[in-house]
Symmetry: C2
Subunit: 316 residues, 2 copies
DNA sequence: ATGCTTTACGTCTAGCGTAATGATT
DNA sequence: AATCATTACGCTAGACGTAAAGCAT
């Protein structure tokens, strides 16, 4: 296994342009610095630095390895401070914002559990569909689904999510189950309208990219969970997040329709300020939230027949 | 600095539920295993495992640290193999797909440079706006802007990008510069139509979320770079990626319009198959591509007055 | 009684610095 | 000539295993 000090030495040698200098910074004699770099190279089986008496040059391998090392050393630093003094105790007031359905069914209860684990924490939950007021209202974390809005905030994906068409069994029995997206025009579609955004289209992924479904709204409302209740009551088709309707589907109150062909990617994200040193309450809450949500991810996606393997996804 | 073997030991102890067992796996006596875990805890200043004679339990700190360790150890493994034997030599045929403008101006030349550095590599570039045929045509890497389509492929963000409205100075002199998105209805708008997708709307980020601009297309075409040329020739306003028009803007052939208020987030991604062991040619190319693009990111965004600090963004 | 963690202790290896060497500007 | 990387060479600190004690199941 590689020695992290060897890695540090290598990184410093690259930025300093001198192995001796890098050694000095770490309190090592040139002899040791040389030996340790050699050891690192032997462990990897690759030459990292091409050295002459007066100059260091990164090899191709060294260049690739250097980039990786920067990330790794940074992560280790983060990991150390994350468990450091005072970093595990959430205190103050945690202000969480979440959309209607998701907030009521998932984020709210999870946040309450989190608060129960942290006696010195006060919790404030704002159920709202707008994020514009995060700074103004002092929101610590906003949970949202779909493409994160462009802003100065950091967005971290928590779990996968898809919007699918769904309806009550009674509705489908009365009006038949659409077998193709073209059939939707003959159905009663419950659509969401929001101030400033107009009616939210039903967008589905196709082989050629996202496509807006050509449907006409029969009933529109501006509350996601009212829409869900209307769907449960058999008033028509709704286009809802898997996380919003999973419980209804499990209970037999709703059925996914055309889930294989018509779905919109709307992964769930945590949005939070990009301060370098995140308060413990925010960091811990997001970690906890992701952990809990991920433990339900397979079940939720499975309830709308979307469960798949979780492909490793990392963006940097 | 932390010893990576200590970290390994800790991780194994957690999954094994026994410190001695973890030690055995690493060829250490129980005594040493105990001492090393203690050392790790002292270095961190935190207790990671609550131990009784027959049971190990993660503390809260340990739980957080465990998650981090898993990521770090995985990254180190990756870094090691990335520079391993044969992993630095790109060979075979690298098949890159890129959209019209982006491909011609950026991806193509960069890929050619990359090929020049790898004598054993053959390069095949497909300029096309569709990704559906990646498997069919054996595409290794597809470069795309905007929200990555939902699929089994991995998507890695390379650089930030925004679509903005732009026009030739001559056009703006003749018709005036719109000062608000509402003014766009009085202008000649060049819009893209694509088979199956219809006319691509101009979507901008607003405080309340993405909004489709209410404009009517005066001229539509199905080629992004023809559209750009029409805009340069003064035939109307176009909605283009910053990366597509940066050169034109620098040369004074185009001017960004309403860039502060009307822009669409369309970051540039590399899409590639999710095989666990990515061929060296793909891994190296994506690394190289990102490196080169990132070195131009500030310039490009600045050319359309969108340069900002690069917030650290990581999704896992 | 078994199998775990931890402490104590003696051994020995592995990593250290010093100093000398060779190379490069 | 100066400063770098590297090698050779003793030396010591630290990491090892063994063995024994304490505990929980």
């Amino acid at each position: 296994m590689i020695d992290l000090e060897d890695m540090q030495l290598f990184v410093r040698a690259v930025s300093d342009g001198s192995l001796s200098a890098a050694g000095r910074e770490l309190g090592l004699s040139p002899a040791v610095a040389s030996k340790r770099l050699t050891r690192l190279e032997q462990t990897l089986g690759v030459r990292l630095l091409q050295r002459s008496s007066r100059r260091l040059a990164l090899t191709d391998e060294g260049s690739v390895y250097y980039e990786r090392c920067m990330g790794i050393l940074g992560d280790i630093d983060e990991a150390n401070t994350a468990v450091g003094a005072g970093q595990m105790e959430a205190r103050g007031t945690l202000h969480v914002s979440a959309p209607l359905d998701l907030g009521r069914q998932w984020i709210g209860p999870i946040a309450a559990d989190f608060a129960a684990q942290h006696p010195k924490l006060r919790l404030r939950i704002s159920i709202s569909d707008t994020t514009l007021d995060m700074f103004e209202h002092g929101v610590d974390v906003a949970v949202r689904s779909g493409t994160p809005a462009d802003s100065q905030l950091i967005s971290r994906q928590l779990v996968r999510n898809y919007r699918v068409i769904c309806a009550a069994p009674a509705y489908l029995a009365r009006h038949g189950c659409p077998s193709h997206t073209d059939d939707l025009q003959q159905h009663t579609c419950l659509m969401l309208h929001r101030p400033g955004r107009g009616i939210l289209p039903w967008i589905v992924q196709t082989a050629t990219g996202p496509r807006s479904l050509p449907i006409s709204a029969t009933i529109t409302c501006d509350s996601g969970d009212l829409m869900r209740e209307l769907a449960v009551a058999g008033h028509g088709l709704a286009f809802k997040s898997a996380w919003d309707i999973a419980a209804d589907v499990r209970a037999g109150r709703l059925l996914p329709v055309l889930a294989d062909t018509a779905r919109e990617q709307a992964h769930i994200h945590a949005i939070y300020p990009s301060r370098r040193f995140l308060p413990a309450r925010i960091r811990l809450f997001i970690d906890y939230l992701q952990k809990v949500l991920q433990s339900h991810e397979h079940d939720v996606l499975d309830s709308v027949r979307l469960a798949q393997g979780s492909p490793k996804q990392k963006q940097g």
